[in-house]
């Protein structure tokens, strides 16, 4: 059997995290190819329904990445994302998911290296957790 390769969906804000991921590319910093990035204008745009849909469709992990506190291009969208993620992690736990499968990270436009580290860490952790309960269960 081949090694378990986690499938991670990443929602990245246009101004910080997406640009940080671009910088990782420009700096040629390698990270595992497990993430599929969806660009949104602000982490505040990320509806809990998007996250639940990702898990329902078989994602092993979901990453929300936005600007550092105080740096949000839209002033406070990242705080709204933070509040939703805190709540959603509790809900996920009640569904029988490990809350670690949903991550929120702050990555600025100048943190290419940090973006790569976030992905490396997350993929490593999800590899330890194994496939999503929804994938095992059918």
């Amino acid at each position: 059997m081949t090694e378990f390769e986690p499938r991670v969906v990443g929602f990245l804000c246009n101004w910080c995290a997406y640009a940080g991921a671009d910088l990782a590319g420009m700096s040629r910093i390698t990270y595992p190819p497990n993430i599929r990035i969806i660009r949104v204008m602000c982490s505040g745009r990320i509806d809990p329904a998007f996250i639940l849909e990702a898990f329902r469709s078989g994602a092993d992990g979901v990453l929300i990445a936005g600007c550092h506190p105080g740096d949000c291009h839209y002033l406070s969208g990242n705080f709204k994302a933070y509040r939703r993620v805190v709540m959603l992690r509790k809900v996920l736990e009640q569904f029988g998911f490990e809350p670690e499968r949903l991550r929120l990270q702050w990555v600025s436009a100048s943190e290419g290296e940090r973006f790569a580290t976030v992905i490396k860490d997350m993929v490593k952790e999800i590899k330890k957790l194994g496939p999503s309960p929804l994938r095992i269960g059918g």
Binding site: D22, P33, M41, A49, A109, R135
Partner: protein
């Protein structure tokens, strides 16, 4: 809503070997053809090139494409390029979608080409899912207020203001300090010409005062900035000066004032009164009362023959409408912590800007190099203080705060200049210049270094790992240094004065300015440009531009050049008179809206307006105010808000497509 069936063209770029060297582009192209709604898929070496663009335009016509996807670099790079292609081919630019298979794929997965190829396919599948649901959007045009605001009246802000005014535009120039001139007003001479800083600066300062198009507000601050490019509303507070325009700067008030405090213009080397003139060539040439230190004894009121002192003066608040904004807020000087090279421990350890004041005719010693009553016979300069700090060797002033890793760019030349001035004016004074590296990269600067080398300045190179040590013995100060060029011989230099060549740091109020203007800062703490190479003046906020050292350390030449450049940039929307407003904004479906007002609460821009009709409360979006973050859409409990171009349907389709194919293989 009737919609034509999507006919998508997918174009996969090799970007030379940047993508093609990792991703199997032919395989990806073959795969793209199998995706739903895809009419054709093609690959090309450089999609952004003229032939690449022409290919897309021809295909749109020939194959009646109504959606286009380009899989290449980041949309932050070429999305505008391809949107233009769409428009030129008669398609709505919002029917374009870009797939990032370079920055997010080939460049980061170069070690795993097979997986990178698979990822490229997945990303394109996601784009196809989104593109199938894209809808045309219309850009709107709004009028521009033909006036600019410049924050900061140092050399770059002044240069920008004069340029914009000469171009015929009205300028509001807002300066926090009581006088314009900025840091340049504190300098003695400028390199490499040897001119007096004031001689260079004063004519420009006078141009500010005399130009009818420039409205100057000193001792003033920006309180809040609202609106968008072309239509900013800026709240400005003019702080009380307690001295009116009647002041003729005669100085009688100063003479009777009993309060003495350190003079910031001389970096504390002299004292000033609580009522003071910022400096002799200040503009406006008016006294000011420093409210923190004034004891309200009213002696100045008695002394003033013109009745110009008004202790009852109040803060004035006003709101101005401007089309564009230039941020020229400048920098702060690195303030060495106590005992860094003996600073604040020995009183004859000073900073380079303080030395500059000592050499200036209008300085505390009338330009005579006097320290504690005598002319120093031996002076040691130490370079790179607070710049180029490496972890493990330097510690940040505040724990957890980051080190200043950058080069401050001006200090090497400033030190050479002052060393030369001293050698020319005081041939009996020896100058030891302790440096890590000598950086004299500007026009005429290397020649200046050569000239300095010939004037018997002693250059001693120290290593990063072994910074000089300043200590005291019975005869006075001694600087100990390992000299790289004499095989690390340890030299002990007895000296009368140590001068720390301090670097530039972001201003203490940078984070406040950042929040008010909603612009970002780079890792070093200075304001961040959109693109380091090609858009060094633009911020992520349309209509807000950077000038001078607010963006990073630079010398007068570069600051003035950037001021002119920012003026040219800021003039573009003003000259056009109109700007286009992005249609990527939210829209409320009033039939679905339950009037719960959650969206109103989450919107930071006041772009949600509640309306009551027939007893039913509904929200709507003020289009020009909406910035398109989409937070309202994700907060709406009834799904009444559509965030254009990032709709729920589009994003959910991307999510499902991201995970779809793999799920089938399980």
């Amino acid at each position: 809503m009737s919609r034509e069936k999507p006919r998508i063209g997918v174009y996969i770029c090799h970007c030379g070997l940047n993508i093609g060297g990792v991703v199997d582009v032919a395989d990806v192209t073959k795969y793209a053809k199998t995706l739903p709604n895809v009419v054709l898929a093609k690959d090309y070496v450089y999609m952004c090139s003229a032939p690449g663009q022409a290919m897309i335009k021809d295909d749109i016509k020939e194959h009646k494409l109504n959606r286009v996807i380009v899989a290449s670099c980041t949309p932050r790079m070429h999305e505008p390029t391809f949107c233009k292609v769409m428009e030129e081919a008669g398609l709505n630019p919002y029917l374009f979608e870009m797939t990032n298979i370079r920055e997010h794929c080939s460049w980061v997965h170069g070690d795993e080409p097979q997986k990178a190829t698979k990822k490229a396919k997945d990303l394109i599948r996601m784009s196809v899912a989104k593109a199938s649901l894209l809808e045309p959007l219309q850009r709107k045009e709004v009028d521009v207020t033909e006036r600019a605001l410049i924050i900061g009246a140092g050399i770059s802000g002044i240069r920008a203001a004069v340029d914009l005014a000469q171009r015929g535009f009205e300028v509001y120039l807002v300066e926090k300090a009581p006088s314009i001139g900025g840091r340049m007003a504190q300098l003695n001479e400028v390199y490499p010409t040897g001119e007096k800083a004031v001689d260079v600066l004063k004519p420009l300062m006078d141009a500010i005062a005399s130009h009818p198009k420039i409205k100057l507000f000193t001792n003033s601050e920006i309180e809040a900035v609202d609106g968008f490019i072309g239509n900013f509303k800026v709240k400005v507070t003019v702080k009380p000066r307690y001295v009116t325009n009647e002041c003729n700067a005669c100085g009688k008030c100063e003479y009777v004032c009993p309060i003495e405090v350190p003079n910031e213009h001389d970096f504390g080397l002299s004292k000033r009164k609580a009522i003071y003139l910022p400096f002799p060539t200040a503009l406006p040439l008016m006294y000011i009362i420093d409210e923190e230190n004034c004891n309200k004894c009213e002696k100045c009121i008695e002394a003033c023959e013109r009745g110009a002192v008004d202790l009852e003066e109040k803060r004035m608040k006003m709101e101005v409408d401007v089309g564009t904004i230039i941020v020229a807020t400048g920098y702060d000087l690195y303030d060495p912590p106590k005992v860094e090279y003996g600073y604040k421990l020995y009183d004859n350890v000073i900073t380079m800007p303080q030395l500059e004041r000592l050499l200036d005719k209008s300085g505390p010693t009338n330009g005579e190099l006097q320290f504690n009553g005598s002319t120093p016979r031996s002076i040691v300069f130490i370079s790179c203080v607070g710049s180029r700090q490496e972890p493990g060797i330097y510690k940040p002033i505040v724990e957890d705060q980051q080190l200043n890793r950058y080069c401050s760019r001006v200090c090497c030349m400033a030190a050479l200049k002052n060393a030369l001035v001293i050698r020319e004016r005081y041939p009996d004074t020896r100058v030891f210049y302790l440096y890590r590296d000598m950086r004299t990269f500007g026009k005429g600067h290397e020649e200046y270094y050569t000239k300095a080398s010939e004037s018997r300045i002693l250059f001693i190179k120290y290593k990063l790992e072994a910074p000089p040590v300043v200590s005291e013995n019975s005869n006075g100060l001694v600087v100990t240094v390992q000299d790289v060029f004499t095989n690390n011989e340890i030299l002990a230099i007895p000296t009368d004065l140590v001068v720390l060549n301090v670097g530039a740091v972001p201003r203490a109020d940078a984070s406040e300015v950042q929040t008010k203007l909603r612009i970002s800062r780079s890792a070093d703490g200075f304001f961040q440009e959109v693109h380091a190479k090609l858009r060094p003046l633009d911020t992520a906020m349309d209509g807000i531009y950077l000038a001078g050292t607010a963006q990073g350390p630079k010398d007068i030449t570069d600051s003035a050049a950037m001021g002119s450049a920012a003026a040219a940039k800021a003039a573009i929307p003003l000259a056009r008179g109109k700007v286009e407003i992005e249609p990527i904004i939210a829209l409320v479906n009033e039939d679905l809206c339950g009037g719960c007002r959650i969206c109103e609460g989450v919107c930071e821009y006041g772009a949600i307006e509640m309306k009551e009709e027939d007893g039913k409360l509904t929200s709507s979006v003020l289009e020009a105010m909406c910035k398109g973050c989409g937070t309202c859409a994700s907060s709406c409990p009834t799904g009444a808000i559509t965030m254009h171009h990032f709709t729920d349907k589009q994003i959910l389709a991307q999510v499902r497509a991201a995970l779809k194919e793999e799920a089938k293989h399980d």
